[in-house]
């Protein structure tokens, strides 16, 4: 009898444990989705700025501001959703392209993130086309340097 109960409680424990895991993974799914939504918003905002850079659209201070505001909002929403916590390393059903190195010891993800925040601030302080065009590459480089180290290619 005893062994039977033991078996039952082990089985129950396993189920609870398993449930715990899948809950954690479901939460990770949401975190990953939030991270990818943040990045999609970045990509969209970037598009408007690049058009000015390439001369496809005229310089327009309001567009620049709106794009940088969109990035700031995406950044804040991701923070809210804990989109960069270590618990978001792997999802249950959602695939992530973030590399686990982000959360490894000695990772400089913090510096890469800060470079992006700083580049946004520098760009926001520009007031004319020449200033914008001089400051813009640093923003693009901030995106590039984080992806170079911490994003896997999608193929």
């Amino acid at each position: 009898m005893l062994s039977r109960n033991l078996f039952k409680s082990i089985a129950a424990g396993t189920i609870v444990l398993g449930l715990g895991f899948s809950l954690a993974y479901a939460a990770a799914d949401d975190q990953i989705k939030a991270r990818q939504a943040e990045m999609k918003a970045n990509g969209k905002a970037m598009g408007a700025l690049v058009a000015i850079m390439k001369g496809e659209a005229p310089y327009d201070a309001a567009t620049v501001k709106a794009s940088l505001d969109a990035m700031a909002a995406a950044d804040a929403a991701a923070g809210e959703a804990k989109a960069w916590d270590a618990s978001s390393m792997e999802g249950a059903t959602v695939e992530t392209w973030a590399k686990p190195e982000i959360w490894a010891e000695g990772s400089d993800i913090g510096a890469k993130y800060q470079a992006w925040v700083d580049a946004r601030a520098t760009l926001a302080a520009t007031t004319d086309e020449a200033g914008f065009k001089a400051a813009f590459p640093a923003l693009g480089q901030a995106c590039q340097s984080c992806h170079e180290s911490f994003r896997r290619p999608k193929g």
Binding site: G43, K54, G140, H147, R152, K154
Partner: protein, 287 residues
């Protein structure tokens, strides 16, 4: 025993003979372009821990992570003790085009000699002339972090026997001169196929899936296909692709930074305008 003898014979290094080296006055300017297109410095740069070394020089030692272990690509500056200062032209060509070291061992194909083999010998000698024009840096090489490196190196001979294609690159006379220049840079020094062409069962590039993309050779993520870059809407036209290769993500082109492509793109940015246009002309012709 017979099998082992066969293995030993087949796996022996097959260096080029001295007669394969033409009389050639090295062209340093051409060498620098091919060195840039070939991404030599990306792998042969100095290790960040070795303070005081000029990071722009290929003095070697930066760890290169591969699925079989960590390699430390050696010093390519003309230092006599630790670099290639004492290398003959033949030593250099055998390393870059046949994957055989000065001491006669097989080199591990993480070093893409499998693509460099397609270059004319003169171009390889130009790269050597460029390297010899750099300041020498003393930086001893470091053994690969692979426990069975000795056996692996010998086993590589067998792999080369089966999978190393040493056929030189051939122009296509039905195409323009600029297309051919692009084809050469992509398939020779640029070694784009080392990542963009998937590998077959013996880990050689699978010609039947040329530039079709696939799993990343270093094991993380997938490499995109280079076919239909315009048809699939990824780039508007040749001009758009030129801008992408020259500016990458700085101009919002999203698929140019991860999985080693960022370094390739940075090299493209340093090539002469005409060469980038040639590469783009060739790439968009892959339908």
């Amino acid at each position: 025993m017979l099998g082992f003898t066969a293995f030993w014979l087949v796996s022996a290094p097959r260096p080029l003979p001295a007669s394969a080296i033409p009389a050639h006055a090295g062209n340093i300017a051409n060498g620098e372009i091919l060195y840039t297109a070939g991404g030599c410095r990306n792998c042969h740069k100095s290790n960040a821990e070795q303070a005081g070394l000029d990071p722009d020089l290929p003095s070697g030692g930066f760890p290169l992570k591969t699925p079989i272990g960590v390699l430390y690509p050696p010093n390519l500056t003309p230092d006599a003790e630790t670099g290639i200062g004492n290398w003959s032209d033949l030593d250099f060509v055998n390393a870059v085009q046949r994957g055989i070291s000065k001491s006669g061992q097989h080199l591990i194909p993480a070093f893409p000699y499998t693509s460099y083999a397609a270059m004319p010998v003169e171009d390889v000698l130009d790269i050597k002339a460029y390297l010899m024009s750099l300041p020498p840096v003393s930086s001893p090489s470091r053994e690969a972090g692979i426990p069975i490196a000795f056996l692996l190196r010998r086993g590589l001979g067998l792999w080369k026997f089966l999978g190393l294609d040493t056929a030189p690159w051939q122009p296509d006379s039905s195409q323009t001169a600029t297309w051919n220049r692009g084809s050469y840079l992509v398939n020779g020094p640029g070694h784009c196929g080392e990542c963009h062409t998937p590998r077959n069962l013996i880990m050689a590039r699978d010609g039947s899936r040329f530039m079709m993309g696939g799993p990343h050779p270093e094991g993380q993520g997938k490499v995109p296909s280079l076919h239909g870059l315009v048809e699939t809407g990824r780039y508007k036209d040749q001009k758009d692709l030129v801008l992408a290769l020259q500016n990458g993500e700085v101009f919002g082109y999203e698929n140019m930074s991860s999985g080693g492509m960022g370094q390739v793109q940075a090299n493209m940015a340093k090539l002469p305008q005409a060469d980038v246009e040639a590469i783009a002309e060739y790439l968009i012709s892959l339908k």
